[in-house]
């Protein structure tokens, strides 16, 4: 390695896992390496739950990894380093402080004197285009202006490394674009008082637009699946064919099927092992209808579909995966292809749709079948949700377990496979079903 350029940050063999009582540890990040040099913008790209935000927090010194080494300028990192500043997805502005007071926050913590503080905050506020808003409170500002405050607050401490956690995902498309362009312009002109930027995003185009290097994360556990260099010069053109091709390639990487892990023996699939995406039945029906009609005619390119429907990749991929799990569509190499069952569902009336959906659930979601069979075995045809939640939690985090249970309840209700009583937190059967049973 080059001797004269010491990396800003180096992360080696980083692993983050949460201890579980019942079964194996819940691994969020596994065997991750990352090196950041001065003068580069690096994007961490991945779906939610891929651990990219966790990695960002580890680099920020906020979180201690379970194992692995994190070095800041060659020294082991022990806490939030002075040369690192962060921009948050939710802006994280203090609503009771004015724009100027928010920007001065980091300087106050450093113990900078009042005159100096005012001068530097003024400078950062002007640089980021907030001049005139000094005395305003965050709640008086639009989302775009708020994130500018977040940026100014980070830049005012003149950090060597700027960390950005999905900084533009809470903004509308046009506002986000303006902020991105402004930031890149400042970066290219050398006006940003930072040496390097690490940005977390789930937006493929954003990554290709801004970064010099992209690390694509895979989920469960979070690993760096791919590393790509972006060869284009700034300012980049979204409609350049090479740019489009790179976006398409990354879509392909992100939808590529994981090689299924080899299970011991040919045991029956565990109904509690797989989390479900919380996708509503209306959304599924809507996408199937869109897919089966013109201009798609049954097959769609994901980037194009995402653009047409104004979906983020983070929203579209779980939807596509759920359809493919239920056998309504196939997901391959960045394309979504409707199946015969999917087409039948799209063309059916309400009652028929429910039947098709119920059949798909019975065939492909063992959890639904398991719940129904437990209800059927009980003499009173009732079963507490608690036991299923506990079993799910043996295999996934409590949040995922809750989400999966909610999803199963919504799907089962739609397909009229069972009923759910929220007050009692119990599954049950519809009255007619119950009578059938008695007979």
């Amino acid at each position: 390695m080059d001797q004269q350029t010491k990396p800003l940050v180096s992360v080696r063999n980083c692993r983050q896992a949460y201890h579980k009582e019942a079964s194996a540890d819940l691994v969020v990040l596994d065997d991750v390496d990352l090196t950041l040099q001065e003068g580069e913008i690096v994007a961490l790209l991945g779906r939610s739950g891929s651990g990219k935000s966790t990695l960002l927090r580890i680099v920020a010194g906020l979180l201690k990894p379970t194992s692995g080494d994190v070095c800041w300028r060659g020294e082991p990192l022990k806490g939030p380093a002075p040369g690192v500043a962060m921009v948050f997805q939710s802006f994280a502005l203090f609503p009771w402080l004015t724009v100027q007071e928010n920007v001065e926050l980091g300087l106050e913590a450093l113990g900078v004197k009042k005159d100096d503080r005012e001068e530097r905050s003024e400078e950062a506020i002007d640089l980021i285009g907030l001049g005139g808003y000094d005395g305003a409170y965050p709640k008086e500002l639009s989302g775009g202006m708020r994130q500018r405050v977040g940026l100014a607050r980070a830049l005012v401490v003149h950090p060597d490394l700027l960390l950005m956690d999905e900084p533009f995902s809470a903004l509308d498309v046009l506002t986000a674009e303006t902020l991105r362009t402004d930031l890149i312009d400042l970066w290219m002109d050398g006006k940003l008082p930072v040496k390097s930027i690490l940005i977390v995003t789930h937006n493929i185009e954003e990554a290709v637009l801004m970064a010099d290097r992209i690390l694509v994360f895979s989920s469960n556990p979070g690993r760096v699946a791919h590393e790509l260099k972006v060869p284009f010069a700034h300012p980049r053109n979204r409609f350049d064919p090479a740019f489009r091709e790179m976006v398409d390639d990354i879509y392909g990487i992100m939808t590529r099927r994981k090689v299924p892990e080899i299970h011991t023996a040919a045991a029956a699939p565990n109904p509690f092992a797989h989390p479900l995406h919380p996708i509503g039945t209306n959304l599924m029906a809507g996408l199937l209808e869109t897919l089966s009609s013109e201009p798609y005619g049954g097959r769609a390119d994901l980037p194009a579909l995402a653009a047409a429907l104004q979906f983020e990749v983070d929203e579209l991929l779980p939807l596509g995966e759920t359809l493919s799990m239920l056998g309504f569509a196939l997901l391959e190499e960045g394309d979504l292809q409707i199946t015969a069952t999917g087409r039948r569902f799209a063309e059916a009336e309400t009652e028929d749709r429910k039947e098709i959906f119920a059949a798909a659930l019975r065939a492909h979601v063992p959890l639904i079948t398991e719940i129904r069979s437990v209800i059927d075995q009980r003499s009173n045809h009732r079963a507490a949700a608690m036991r299923f939640r506990d079993q799910l939690e043996d295999h996934m985090s409590p949040e995922y377990a809750e989400e999966t249970l909610r999803t199963v309840i919504a799907w089962g209700r739609y397909a009229e496979i069972f009923e759910y009583d929220e007050e009692a937190q119990q599954f049950g059967l519809e009255e007619e079903d119950e009578e059938e049973h008695e007979a």
Binding site: Q16, A17, Y18, H19, R57, A60, G61, L62, L63, K64, T66, L77, K78, G79, P80, P82, V84, A85, M86, F88, Q89, S90, F91, A92, F94, P95, W96, L97, L105, G106, E108, A109, L110, G111, Y137, P138, K139, E140, R153, V157
Partner: protein, 575 residues
């Protein structure tokens, strides 16, 4: 109008083993307090310089000032307590396990029952000095204010937004800086609101704690409460009326000069992303904000505070959070054993203390008396609900009426109800009617307003589109109440009902017994039981009465109000 969940309702905390330990610890502490106090009752107390109380109304402004000063001193101590106790409970998992159940139980202890002993305790600390009596009075007011403020602050600390916590860590604020930049501002709206409720409740205790009789010695601290006590003893009805008028003026000033500006100002700290449409700025706040002189003073003060709050006061650099490490089981184990040992010791002390003088039938008597008071409170609440729900809904649905009535209801809630007792007592003596029935309404005189202003707030917050939908479907009469309005205001109603009934229990200690000159009236009930035991210096029965009352209050909170509130918020809110 803002509506905050009262501490007794909030939290999904299920009763656990720490509640039992906390109960024992609190009771043990109270008995220790009583023991120290009783030990000194026997010994002759050095003469306290009793300033004579003048019934001449020209003295009233001075007395009012003295009472108010006590109130604010107590408030200062309550804030200190809040900032330290709640912070410790929120930041340390192990401390929180014990501190929060203790706070929960302290909330339901009727501190009025201990008035005599706390007074003696403080007199013992400062023998022969007025200081002791003053501090005793301040302490009683403190105990009426501190618990719900601490609870509110604790709740805010446990619901701090994660991104703001991360931001303060990543910008490396020291704990001291973070406390003033994040913790306190975030808790401000709830804290201000609870402080105001505490202050309102506090006037009651100011009046009750100024004139206390211990054995043969009577203290009268200069103040409105003493003024009324002397007036009652001298059967001077005019003086009683003067005192009521003076109190009205004090409350009005406090309402206009402090309450309203402070609540409006705390709106700035509300954690929301959109600018809310705020009501008209109170005139006092306008004066403070727009007048050059006041502005200059305000800026100078905030400059000084700002400098103090900016100090780091910490040598340690912030470290990383280690989410994957488990808390040490060994330390946990030692901690549990320690708590258990203390609880067992307290339990042993309680048994020893109580078994020396009390028998099982005493417990039975206390429970029976508690039942009487419980029946009183229940009947009163039903009557109050039957009156105030329709009135409150009528007002709340009319914005104009709300603007007029809401401040009046809040104002009345602050008025110390015990000043209104004498006229009622006089009427009972005059007409020779049963005190068992006619003393009862006194318990709710002061606290019924909480019911009213919460119902008004609930009706006023009823969504406009729902009102239109209801009109569109021609829903009227009984159906309207059953399906629309009652579910619509239920969480607000329960909030008000809990505050009102809790206050009624506490008030029973002064409301079930009353006197006018030599005529003493007493109703059957736990309040009268405690008051009687206190007057007789029968400390074990005071303790028994207080414990039984705490249990009744907690029982009602846990069995009735908390599940009801959880149900109401779950079922009557969308999402």
């Amino acid at each position: 109008m803002t509506n905050y969940t009262p501490p007794a309702l909030a939290g999904q905390r299920l009763p656990n083993r720490f509640d039992g330990a906390a109960m024992l610890l609190v009771m043990g502490l109270l008995i220790a307090l009583v023991e120290v106090g009783r030990g000194t009752i026997a010994t002759p107390i050095a003469q306290i310089q009793n300033t004579p109380i003048h019934l001449d109304p020209s003295w009233l402004p001075y007395y009012a000032l003295r009472s108010t000063a006590r109130m604010f001193l107590a408030l200062f101590f309550s804030l200190l307590f809040t900032f330290s106790y709640a912070t410790l409970a929120a930041k340390s998992r192990r401390a929180g396990m014990v501190l929060i159940p203790i706070l929960d139980i302290l909330q339901s202890v009727p501190i009025l029952g201990f008035l005599t002993f706390t007074t003696v305790f403080f007199l013992h600390l400062f023998p022969g000095q007025v200081m002791g009596a003053e501090l005793a009075s301040v302490f009683v007011i403190f105990t009426s204010q501190a618990w719900n403020m601490a609870f509110s602050f604790y709740q805010s600390l446990t619901t701090l937004p994660a991104d703001l916590q991360e931001a303060s860590r990543s910008f490396r604020l020291s704990p001291w800086q973070r406390f003033w930049k994040l913790d306190v501002p975030f808790a401000m709206p709830g804290l201000v609101w609870n402080t105001m409720l505490s202050m309102s409740g506090g006037w009651f205790f100011v009046v009750a704690s100024e004139a206390v009789t211990v054995g043969n010695t009577q203290f009268t601290l200069p103040g409105i409460g003493s003024y009324v006590a002397v007036a009652l003893a001298q059967k001077n009805l005019h003086a009683v009326i003067y005192a009521i008028l003076a109190m009205l003026v004090v409350i009005l000033l406090y309402d206009q000069l402090i309450f309203r500006p402070l609540v409006a100002w705390s709106g700035k700290f509300r954690f929301e992303t959109t600018a809310a449409i705020s009501g008209p700025e109170p005139w006092m706040l306008k004066l403070l904000r727009r007048t050059a002189l006041f502005r200059a003073i305000g800026e100078a003060i905030s400059e000084i505070f700002g400098t103090v709050f900016r100090l780091r006061l910490s040598l340690r650099q912030p470290g990383q959070v280690d989410e994957t490490s488990e808390p040490s089981r060994l330390v946990d184990g030692v901690w549990f054993v320690l708590i258990a040992a203390m609880a067992i010791y307290a339990g042993w002390q309680i048994v020893e203390y109580v078994s020396a003088t009390l028998h099982w039938h005493d417990l039975f008597t206390a429970l029976l008396m508690g039942l009487y008071t419980a029946i009183r409170v229940t009947v009163l609440m039903i009557i109050a609900a039957a009156i105030w729900v329709p009135v409150g809904v009528w007002i709340g649905l009319r914005p104009k009426a709300t603007r007029i009535a809401q401040p009046i209801a809040q104002f009345l809630a602050a008025f110390p109800a015990n000043l209104l007792f004498p006229p009622v007592v006089l009427a009972i003596v005059y007409f020779h009617v049963s005190p068992d029935i006619w003393l009862t309404p006194l318990m709710l005189i002061g606290t019924q307003w909480y019911l009213l202003f919460n119902v008004i707030a609930g009706a006023a917050a009823f969504p406009g589109d729902m009102k239109e939908a209801v009109a569109n479907f021609h829903i009227h009469g009984f159906l309207w109440w059953r399906k629309v309005m009652i579910p619509g205001i239920l969480p607000y109603f329960i909030t008000g009902a809990l505050t009102a009934s809790g206050g009624a229990w506490n008030a029973s200690i002064v409301a079930e017994v009353a006197s006018w000159g030599n005529a003493n009236l007493a109703a059957h009930g736990l309040g009268a039981y405690i008051a009687g035991a206190t007057a007789a210096g029968d400390t074990p029965r005071v303790v028994l009465g207080v414990v039984v009352m705490s249990c009744f209050v907690m029982f009602f909170n846990r069995i009735l109000w908390r599940p009801l509130y959880a149900y109401a918020t779950r079922r009557t809110t969308l999402g």
